[in-house]
Every structure is written in structure tokens, then in C-alpha cells.
Symmetry: C2
Subunit: 345 residues, 2 copies
């Protein structure tokens, strides 16, 4: 049932239409609120700080691509899923605007974050606006021929996903105040914060494409494993990635004491845990990185994370095969999954 | 078609069921996220700072009452509108949690605000959680017998209301940086921030109750005027209210330089405007209040605000009469509207 498009040509065909749909949603004719929408456009990489149009980094649009590809994979026309795909990407970006405030992050994609330019109050509110407009985007699916029953089913999944996002974010913020976080708790957190949205994007796309329940659930499972693998890969790159490729300073995640999977695994290790915790509790500089890398090596933290990554990748591919049968091998979803996990940045 | 219940007995019958429905939505079985939901419960007046149950001030629940009464007024069973009414109240409280952060307000209903207790990051996220759960509440209407077509229509209105709320809030935050705000711009702001939610609450209740389009639109109009009147009354009480009744310090809104309708009207007055602006630009204390009150009197600011209040009240009642015919006279909606506008706090 897959059309056999490879990943790149699929993106070239659909991403411009996705951007058009997002622009159509994130727009008001009223000049008094132009700046409200301007902040959203800035965050999405469409305008500069003075709200002048340009092309800036805008992210990979992975989630909406998953939605569109899922629709195509079950035999649907991706055009019917464009509004839902826009909803998924707008929701993701709402969460990024709020995350940046909550984490105090001053830059994203090499540009100042929304809150540093317009202040925290307006940035919170611009995020809220995108949250509301993600639902508006989803509801536009009606104009693409999606019936009321499917629309309600999509809204139920989308809403459950929104709730899971905030639960995951609650856990993530809470971890910052805890010295030690169990690996299982960490996986629960990234399940809510990352995996559910990828899974929901796929599931909604499949639903629009007319998938039966079994296929829909299998694609949801593929998305969950893909999301977990994606985040674990992020964690590995944050510690062992090549700074010239990732664009982040070497040791960045360690110096920020970011509670990522390898670090948490080592902190829970019977012999490495205490000395590592002691080092992280004192002031850290580049000169401490070799000693910390040594402790991570002794704990086998990288091997553990890579094993988890491999397992989730394999489980994800099994779900994809369950959903699509032999088409899974040539599906652009397969290319996307492999590409995400082989990435170096 | 009205059942002739008066306002108080309607509330006594339905408010406990509303609280039950809200509790059912704002709940998770998972202990790891107990504090996430605990913040919402605290904000709603159900628990104390340690998340121990008690009875604290919880607001008047005006918006959900409007939703339930609108349903009853057109001949529907309010029980079918309980989930939608919960959605409206949860949405309202999400916006209050974020407003408190954005305005830096440290107390609400005589208790510390959520952000002062749990910090800004978790408070933003708890608000986001309530935003998501307001949609979850609305979708529960399905279990109360609301069909898919009505559900989609309700979601479209609810989503448009969410967008209007954030546009109104954008304008409100922006006003703080402006020396002078036109009365028309102010009315546009409170339209988005207050009136649309009241109108939407009524409209959704009417839709669930089976109202025809004309009735539904008339109730929406009633809600818009009621919302504007409600906010203008708030503005009047903020300057001329009796501190022993309102619970706010005398001159509170003036000393905070709150851009409310009477103050903006006076600031736009040809002779009073400049001297008033000069006074507000310098440091203000209780000793300045008599002079400012004098300028407001000269401008006729109270009379102007009261005239606006009266006009919106009258227009609202006209809409109610259009919607309900002679039943409007005995409708609990009429009692609620009159009660809100005759209030002293």
C-alpha cells in the first residue's frame, strides 16, 4: 500500500504544503494582534526579530511528516491529513516556547528564544495561542473531507497527547530538584514528553487514511518506540556527539548536569554512582570532563544507552512491519526511522 | 421553556455535580504526577498548600452556571451539559493561573498564587495541563449523549474562544507598556479576555440543549454584553467600591495604575488627560487619591462607565428576550445577570 516514495521526495512534495497550511492557521486579519502572531512566526523561523520575512532554521518537521506518511502508508491521500499534520507541528512548537521559558534557555536553533525578545508574559501567551490554534488546525480537517466521527476520535487522541505532554514536562522539571532519578522514571518522562506525540502523529495520520484498528495501534506502537529511540539518541549525542556536527559545545550536557539516560544510568551504578554524584555536586569545568567520561565508561553508560536505543529501534520496526507488512521495508517511515537514528546531530 | 428555577436553587442543585465532574477530569491514578494535579486542585480551592483536602474560596463558578442554565433555558437537561460546563470552568482557571504569572500577582482569593508556591516553570505547566484537560472535559460530553456533529460544533466554538482569550490577553499585556489606550481598544481587549468566554459558555449550553440557530446566536449576544458589563462593573468597583465589601484596599486599582475603563476615559479627556497622566507618571501614595478622584469626577469618568454598564446590561437583556421570549423575565439567567451587575464585590 505504500507508494514507495522515498523519504526525501516525500518531504519535497509535502513540506511546502504543510508550511502553507500552518501559515493559514497562524494568521489574523486584525492589526492589533499582529505581534501576537508575529512571535509564533518568529519561533517557526519565518520572520526575523522585526517580523520581517526571511528564511531561518525551522526544525525538521519530523512529526507532521510522520502524520502524512502514516496516512499515505495505509493508502490514504496525504492531502487529507495536512491540517492534522499542521496541528501536530503547531502543538510541538507551543511546547517548545513554554519549555524554553521553563528551562531558562536563551537560544534555540542559533537564535534568541521568544521570551528573551518579548518577555516572559507575552511568550507564555504566544505559546497559549499556539496551543489553541493547534486545535483550530485539527478542526480544519473537516474541510478536507474528514467526517465528524473520525474528527472526534482524532480530537480524543490529540487531547490525551496534550495531557501526556504536560505530565512528562511536570516530571522533567521535577527531576531538576532531585539528586538521583531512576532509569525507569526517566523513561516514563520521555515517554510523555517525546514518544506520545510521535505516536499520536502517526495514529492520527493512519486514522485519516482509513486504517483499521490493528494497523492504527501498530503504528502508534512504532511511534512510541521511535520516540524513545529518538530521545535516547539525543542523549547519546549530547555526551559523545561531535561538537563540529552537533553545533553544541563538547560536554555541554554534562556541564549543564542534564539528567539524560547515560548520566542517570551511571548515577544509579553501585560503585560509580557516589563518586559521580560528588563530582556533579561541585563546580564543574572543562577540566573535569575526562574524569566524568572515565566514570561513564566504567559504568558502561554508553553501551547501556546504545542497547536501549537498539532495542527500541528494533521494537519500532517490528510494529511497522505489523502495520504495513512487507511494505514496511520500502516505506518512507522506515527511511525516516533509520535516518533519525543514524544521525550525528 | 425555562423551568422557572430561581438562580440560587439552580446553583444548589447543579454546582455540587459540576465540582464532581471537574474532579473526575482533573485526576490521574499515577502517583508520580500527583503534584501536577495537586496544583490544579489547590488553585480551584479544593486543597491547601500541602495538598490536604479542605474548603477554600473557589470562585463563583459563573461561567459553568451560564452553560447549564442556557441548556435548561432552551428545554434541555442540564445534566447533559455538565461536562461542557466543567470544560468552561477549567479553561477559565487555566487562564487565571497564567494571568497570575504574567501579571506577577502573588495572591488570589486571599491565598498565595500557584507560581509563588511551586515556581514559575511548574505553574506554567500546570496551566497548560488544565488547558489540555478543558478539551478532555468537553469531549466527555459524548458519554452524556451529545452526538458527534454537535460535539464538533462545540469544539469549534470552544477553540475559537481559546484563541480569542489569548488575543485579549496579548492586548492586555501590551497596554501596560502604553501611556495612553483608546477606550475602543480597551473594549476590544475585554471582549476577547472576558466577554467571549461567557458568550461561548451560553452558546455551548444552548447547543447541547437543542436550541435553534437564532436562539443560540441571541444567547451568544446576551453573553457578550453580559461579559462587557461584568468587566465594566469590576472596573467601577476597583475605584469606587467599598473596601470593606470588595476586600481590596481603597484606591487599589488607581495605585496600581490599572488601565480600567474609567481611568482610560479620563486619560483621553481633553482637559483632564494631561494632568492625570502626569500624576500617574510620578510616584503615587494614598495621599494622592483625593486629587485623582477629583480629576475623575471632572472628566465624568464614573458616569461614563455607568452609562456603558447600563447600555450593555440593556442590550444583554434584549438578547435574552430574543432568545427566550417572555420566559426571559423569570429565567435564572436574568437573575444571574442582574445579580452580577448589582453586586458590590
Amino acid at each position: 500500500m505504500s507508494e514507495g516514495n522515498d523519504f526525501d521526495s516525500f518531504g519535497q512534495q509535502w513540506l511546502p504544503l504543510l508550511e502553507d497550511e500552518m501559515r493559514a492557521v497562524l494568521t489574523s486579519q486584525e492589526s492589533a494582534v499582529a505581534e501576537h502572531y508575529g512571535m509564533m512566526h518568529y519561533h517557526l523561523g519565518w520572520v526575523d526579530e522585526s517580523l520581517q520575512a526571511g528564511e531561518f532554521g525551522s526544525g525538521k518537521r519530523i512529526r507532521p511528516l510522520l502524520c502524512l506518511m502514516a496516512c499515505a502508508s495505509v493508502g490514504g491521500d496525504p492531502a487529507t491529513a495536512l491540517s492534522a499534520a499542521a496541528a501536530v507541528e503547531i502543538l510541538h512548537n507551543f511546547s517548545l516556547i513554554h519549555d524554553d521559558i521553563e528551562d531558562g534557555d536563551e537560544t534555540r536553533r542559533h537564535r534568541p528564544t521568544v521570551w528573551t525578545l518579548w518577555g516572559v508574559p507575552q511568550a507564555i501567551n504566544a505559546g497559549d495561542g499556539m496551543f489553541a490554534l493547534s486545535f483550530a488546525a485539527l478542526l480544519r480537517s473537516k474541510q478536507r473531507g474528514v467526517g465528524d466521527r473520525s474528527l472526534v476520535a482524532m480530537l480524543e487522541r490529540f487531547t490525551a497527547c496534550c495531557t501526556a505532554l504536560t505530565e512528562g514536562q511536570h516530571l522533567d522539571i521535577g527531576f531538576e530538584d532531585r539528586e538521583k532519578v531512576a532509569v525507569a522514571d526517566y523513561l516514563r518522562m520521555i515517554e510523555g514528553k517525546t514518544a506520545v506525540l510521535l505516536a499520536t502523529a502517526l495514529s492520527i495520520g493512519a486514522l485519516i487514511g482509513g486504517a483499521d484498528q490493528r494497523t492504527d495501534e501498530a503504528l502508534y506502537g512504532f511511534g512510541q518506540h521511535l520516540g524513545l529511540a529518538f530521545q535516547i539518541q539525543d542523549d547519546i549525542l549530547g555526551i559523545w556527539g561531535d561538537p563540529t556536527v552537533t553545533g553544541k559545545a563538547a560536554g555541554n550536557d554534562i556541564l549543564r548536569r542534564k539528567k539524560s539516560l547515560p548520566l542517570l544510568y551511571a548515577l544509579n551504578h553501585p560503585t560509580v554512582g557516589d563518586p559521580l554524584a560528588d563530582m556533579l555536586a561541585s563546580s564543574l569545568g572543562d577540566e573535569d570532563l575526562p574524569a566524568i567520561h572515565h566514570l561513564l565508561d566504567v559504568a558502561g553508560a554508553k553501551a547501556f544507552a546504545e542497547e536501549q536505543l537498539y532495542n527500541h529501534h528494533q521494537s519500532g520496526l517490528a510494529g511497522l512491519k505489523e502495520a504495513l507488512g512487507t511494505d514496511a521495508l520500502t516505506s518512507p517511515l522506515r527511511s525516516l526511522a533509520d535516518g533519525l537514528l543514524l544521525r550525528q546531530a
